[in-house]
Amino acid sequence: MKRRGEHGQDSKTARAAPRKAGPRQRGLENYVTHHLRALFASLGQLARAPLATLMTAAVIGIALALPAGFHALLASVQAVAAGWEGDMAQISLFLKPSIKDDQAAGLAKRLRGMREVADVRFISPQQALAEFEQSSGLRDALAYLNVNPLPAVLVVRPGEKYSTPAAARTLLRRLESMTEVDSAQLDLAWLERLHAIIGLAARGVWLLAMVLAVGVLLVVGNTIRLGIQNRRDEIIVTKLLGATDGFIRRPFVYGGMWYGLFGGLIALVVVNGLLLGLSGPTQQLAALYHSGFRLELLGGLASLIVLGVGAALGWLGAWLAVSRHLRDVEPV
């Protein structure tokens, strides 16, 4: 009478035996409605304790606001720095003495046609001499020279994409090898320093973000752990009635997601509030330095990322917490 060793098969028949198997379509529909219901039920659960919810969300919000805020500052700095880069990555081409002005002008035109080049300024030997006289105050001494010793110079400003140290250096080598060019010079020290500083700051923001992400996981995990303790009886009863781990996990995981999402919203409010508060004084300060520096608010994409990261961290934190604590809650 008893067939053994078939319990995989049996489990299906046992599951299906008491009910009529409905069409698959309806099963999927029910699955979706159950998820939606759990989603909004968990929202209702949070709404029932608004103060506790707000506090948890605020902690998450602050943790998210820190890296998001630094990121916004860094983005503003980078925008200004990109403007400087063009000036910093200037390449000076000293032309051979044999090159006439009109030839130099022709070369300048050719260079302007290059994809990598944003702008070329031609300084003729006469202009160069005049500039030198003015800045050096050696007018009388120079008057003794009967030939102008200065070469014609083309000042090349690389395009925005070719202003990084590496790209500028490649461009330098190309220009250097041109027949009209005697020698070429590129002063990269400042550019490299600027890049190093920005790179360091960006790395710092990343590391901070990662540490704080772990913080968010722990905050959500702890909140969910308390939730599990509070609803211990409910979990036990649902387990007795045949709830799967997924079913029990669902409201908690959605709850964690809501916490994260609210945290993200709070972070957006905090960051944009701080940036707005700082923008007036910063603009005044920048004006004193004749700089176009201005603080940019978090853009649409960045805001979406903050919300998405918040929700994802909340979801993950809850999932980890439930997985860890669910096995401790077994019916007896």
């Binding site: 046992a14 008491p18 309806r26 009886d233 007795l240 009635l241 045949g242 079913f247």
Partner: protein
């Protein structure tokens, strides 16, 4: 439907609640499990629902050896049962309706309308149709017990396990609930009822399993002692 093979259960405290219990309950059979308080009735039912694990021997339910039940299959095993608990195990913060609906929500097979229909049918069977919106604490002990019974039958299980289902009911209600169980048996459900109520057991003509100090005295039909 249920087979025990030399099943022993020793609790971590060292107490041996069951020793070498063997019996077979056929599909569609209805039987009483009786014995003094502490004899091991609840323990035996818990072994069937896999709430406790046997220390020795084998429990086979619905052709499935529970010793080989994987963790992931436990929920599906429990869904095939309807269990009435000695201490009701209702959720206090949910209405009668929501408590009874729980097995259907967990099963996830029915939409809201069908769920409502089945819940009301189950409540009707235990005479609580008017109390859907009450919370368990607003009900008498007997009413709570009947909510537990409605919850155990709402999903039409193949096996019904009842632990003192009439402990808080007056004789008339007890008789009604027993009639309900018999109706389930008639449509093929296997029913096992733990009870001390000797008068009730005596009045009904079903097989009786008697536990004494964790030993099964008799596996065949007999009139209850005393």
């Amino acid at each position: 439907m249920i087979e025990f093979r030399k099943v022993g259960k020793r609790y971590p405290s060292g107490h041996a609640a069951l020793t070498e219990v063997s019996f077979v309950l056929a599909r569609g059979e209805m039987a009483f499990l009786t014995g003094h308080s502490g004899a091991g009735k609840s323990t035996l039912l818990k072994l069937i629902a896999f709430i406790e694990r046997p220390s020795s021997g084998e429990v086979i339910v619905n052709e499935r050896n529970l010793n080989r039940l994987e963790r992931g299959h436990i929920p599906y095993h429990r869904r095939s049962l309807g269990m009435i608990f000695q201490d009701y195990r209702l959720l206090q913060d949910r209405t009668v309706f929501d408590n009874v609906a729980l097995p259907l929500v967990i099963g996830g097979e029915y939409d809201q309308r069908e769920t409502g229909r089945r819940v009301r049918a189950a409540l009707d069977k235990v005479g609580l149709l008017g109390k859907e919106k009450y919370y368990p604490l607003e009900l008498s002990g007997g009413e709570q017990q009947r909510v537990g019974i409605a919850r155990a039958v709402v999903h039409k299980p193949v096996l019904l396990l009842a632990d003192e289902p009439t402990g808080n009911l007056d004789p008339d209600l007890s008789q009604e609930i027993m009639a309900l169980f018999e109706a389930f048996q008639r449509v093929g459900v296997t029913v096992l009822i733990a009870s001390h109520d000797h008068d009730l057991i005596a009045r009904m003509n079903h097989r009786v399993l008697t536990l004494q100090q964790g030993n099964l005295r008799n596996g065949t039909a007999e009139a209850p002692a005393s």
